[in-house]
Amino acid sequence: MKKRALIVIMLVLLAGISLAQEKFSLVLTGSALMPQDSNYKTVYSKTIFFPELRLAYALGGDFFVFGSYGLLSASGTTPIFQSAAKSTQHFISAGAGYAGPLSGDLGFEIAAGLFLAAYKETVEDTAVTGSTIGFRADAALRYSFSSTFFAQLGLGYLTGSDTVDGTSIKVGGLRAGLGIGYKF
């Protein structure tokens, strides 16, 4: 399942690149992510910096498809023994969206897709890794500085879950971030 989704995402990106001109955009977003997993929040933080790079391809009629990579990395301490803990979540996302004008240089976009989250947590000498597929939805206001550069302020929600040793964990969370983009 995860493998298939990744293949689909890659095919879409390759198709866009090969067929379009100035129909690509690359957006680097820095977000503050508020994890939805309570344990995660206890060990690490309630707000984690979440950088993400997205490549989108405009389809006809203001629709686009995208692929992205984001990294969520944090360090913290365990609640009982205050042991050092470190976790990473690699989000590889693919989806589609719609970007429409609002007025003048201001526009908006909404998008949704799937992501593959590869995660790892290490506490002292104990490390657990895994991956899961989740759903994401994003919305943003876009301001175009030119025909090629733009900035956008957006919100997003990434949600996924997995079961580790019989215990359910959650990945992702509510994201609020600011990004800059380039069309080419």
């Binding site: 997993d37 344990n39 995660y40 060990v43 690490y44 913290g76 365990t78 609640p79 009982i80 023994f81 042991s83 803990a85 976790s87 995660y119 790892k120 947590e121 290490t122 506490v123 104990t126 490390a127 657990v128 895994g130 580790v164 040793d165 215990t167 964990i169």
Partner: protein, 632 residues
């Protein structure tokens, strides 16, 4: 003396003197504290008179055997004539209780014919010497009196065993009955006239034998004493005398060659002093002890000029079951030199007839002459064992007796005491004299061991004191003492005492367990514990520390601590062991960190492995309290 010269008036005088005798007896009995010497002398004169005239009809005896021996009669004396023609009158059934008229004593001795008696001028005169004694060799014993003279009205018991004597030694020896002394015996108590019953006198048997040879000239007294108690007896033996020489008694010599009697003399000579140039009494020599160092020497030798009541004494100690004998001789001769010449060989026992008709045992029993080549060995044992040999037996001097002590089941041999020392068993005992050897046995005590708490351990709160006890017989009970105070007795195993140490003061306390076996022997074990009254307990459960993805298990331990004694706790240490492994310290905690109800977390723990925890408290570097074990 007047009666000797007036035989034809005998019948008349006898009747008169009988009246006097009865009066004398009545007076004697009624006024015991008075001096009845006059009355007693009258009785003695009466006896003399009767003895010399057996056919008077007042009392009777008859001659048998042609040697002057007279068969015993109900009351009277037995005359035996030696080969000098001296007739010795031996009291066999005297009814008078006086110092000079006891059974076995001589009431008189006289020649049956005239002899060549010495005179003051050195010559001789033919004379039928007589009146040697008014009473001679009366036997008395006392465990109180030490100096004499023996007398009625004081703490002396006289041998006066009434009843017919029988004879042995071809009719030459009168064998007197056994008189048993016993403190509660009214007969013997009555001998202590004027003093009441002598209730503390131990049991002893006394008998006498008086021998007059037909082929020699002397008389011999054998005085026997047998200890029939279980303990050695020590007492004084006195020989009381009343010589016929009366106030004219004179010392004529002694074995030391002087005219003074002393304790080293073996014999003393006496006579009635010359009246004019002659003396009508026989010359006497009194043989009191043997030559050289004798086992039982004289302690009193009292002869005084002018005193016709000489006496002498010995201190005799006899072992249980032992019989001892004191031997005396008396020689009566016409001259002082002859008496002295006969006394010496008797003291030296070189007289060929001195020991006639004495058995081997009797010779060995003689203590005041160097006669015994054997000694008594008495082997006794305490309860719990026996010896071989046991009891009393005689052994040759300087011989070795092997004594084996054998304990009964449940007992053990302890040691030898009294005449021997040490613990060597069997004992090779050398016979050097009369002796008593005790083998001491003791019951094997039970063994007891306090198994809980451990010696030197710390006690906090109630604890069950347990002990094991074993014995070769059976343990009756185990008693538990705290600081010397009996707290509890348990008669059934397992022996235990639930001790609430919370009621004790903090500090050192002694716990003692005393086991008693069926024979009453006890064994004990004692330990010392320190009471701190610090109580530590824990509860716990296995918990999970959830990071985000990582889950780690740990132990959540809730500690409960009480310190009733107020001891200063140094630290608490948490120990953990995995599975059946050994405990290892995992945490050290300060008292501030360990309050009652505090939870201590320990981890992470390996899944599937059971961990066991305990918490200990330390005071002054010592582990004083340990919690329960918690397995999670």
């Amino acid at each position: 003396m007047i009666f000797k010269r007036m035989p034809y008036r005998l019948g008349l005088l006898a009747g008169s003197l009988l009246v006097l005798a009865f009066l004398g007896q009545a007076l004697y009995a009624d006024v015991a504290l008075l001096d009845h010497r006059h009355v007693r002398n009258q009785q003695i004169k009466l006896e003399k008179l009767l003895k010399r005239h057996p056919g008077s009809g007042v009392r009777g005896s008859h001659n048998v055997g042609g040697q002057g021996f007279v068969m015993p009669m109900a009351t009277g004396s037995e005359p035996l004539i030696d080969n000098d023609g001296m007739k010795w009158f031996i009291n066999t059934n005297i009814t008078f209780s006086t110092t000079s008229s006891a059974s076995g004593a001589m009431s008189e001795a006289e020649y049956t014919h005239a002899v060549a008696a010495s005179t003051l001028g050195g010559g001789t005169a033919s004379s039928t010497l007589n009146d040697a004694f008014d009473g001679y060799n009366t036997l008395a014993v006392s465990d109180v009196e030490t100096m004499g003279p023996p007398r009625t009205g004081s703490y002396y018991i006289f041998y006066n065993k009434n009843g017919p004597a029988f004879v042995e030694g071809n009719g030459r020896q009168v064998d007197f009955p056994i008189q048993t002394l016993w403190g509660t015996d009214t007969q013997d108590a009555a001998r202590v006239e004027g003093k009441g019953p002598q209730v503390d006198w131990p049991s002893m048997q006394i008998w006498r034998k008086v021998f007059v040879p037909s082929d020699d000239a002397f008389a011999r007294w054998l005085n026997f004493f047998k200890n029939v108690t279980d303990t050695p007896l020590s007492f004084n033996v006195f020989i009381a005398n009343n010589l016929g020489s009366d106030s004219n008694t004179r010392i004529t010599g002694s074995s030391n060659g002087d005219m003074i009697s002393d304790l080293t003399d073996t014999w003393v000579g006496t006579m009635q002093n010359f009246s004019g140039t002659t003396s009508s009494d026989p010359r006497e020599a009194h043989v009191l002890q043997g030559n050289g160092a004798v086992p039982v020497p004289l302690i009193v030798n009292h002869f005084v000029n002018g005193d016709d009541n000489p006496y002498w004494a010995y201190t005799l100690t006899i072992q249980p079951g032992q019989t001892a004998c004191l031997m005396n001789f008396c020689v009566l001769k016409p001259t002082i030199a002859a008496a002295a010449g006969a006394a010496g060989p008797l003291a030296a026992l070189t007289n060929a007839h001195a020991l006639d008709f004495m058995t081997t045992d009797e010779k060995a029993q003689v203590k005041n002459f160097n006669l015994s080549s054997q000694y008594w060995l008495t082997v006794k044992s305490t309860a719990g064992g026996s010896t071989r040999p046991a009891g009393s037996a005689q052994y040759d001097a300087d011989s070795i007796v092997r004594i084996q002590a054998t304990p009964d089941p449940g007992y053990h041999f302890v040691n030898w005491t009294h005449g021997a020392t040490g613990t060597t068993n069997p004992l090779n005992y050398r016979i050097t004299g009369d002796s008593v050897v005790w083998a001491n046995f003791s019951n094997l005590p039970p063994t007891v061991k306090i198994t809980n708490p451990a010696d030197g351990s710390y006690v906090n709160g109630p604890v069950t004191v347990t002990a094991t006890a074993t014995d070769d017989t059976s343990v009756v009970k185990v008693e538990f003492y705290i600081d010397g105070s009996l707290r509890f007795g348990d008669s059934t195993a397992p022996y235990a005492y639930d001790w609430n140490a919370l009621l004790e003061t903090v500090g050192s306390h002694a716990i003692k367990a005393v086991a008693t076996d069926t024979a009453g022997a006890t064994g004990s074990d004692q330990i010392t514990v320190q009471i701190t009254n610090i109580s530590v307990s824990m509860t716990g459960s296995r918990q999970v520390e959830q990071a985000w993805v990582v889950r780690r298990e740990y132990a959540a331990l809730t500690v409960h601590v009480s310190n009733a004694g107020g001891a200063v706790v140094q630290k608490y240490v948490l120990y953990r062991k995995a599975g059946s492994g050994a405990y290892a310290s995992v945490k050290e905690l300060t008292p501030a960190q360990v309050g009652s109800g505090v939870t201590i977390n320990d981890g992470p723990l390996t899944k599937g492995v059971v961990y066991t925890y305990k918490l200990t408290a330390f005071v002054g570097g010592a582990e004083v309290a340990v919690s329960n074990e918690v397995a999670i």
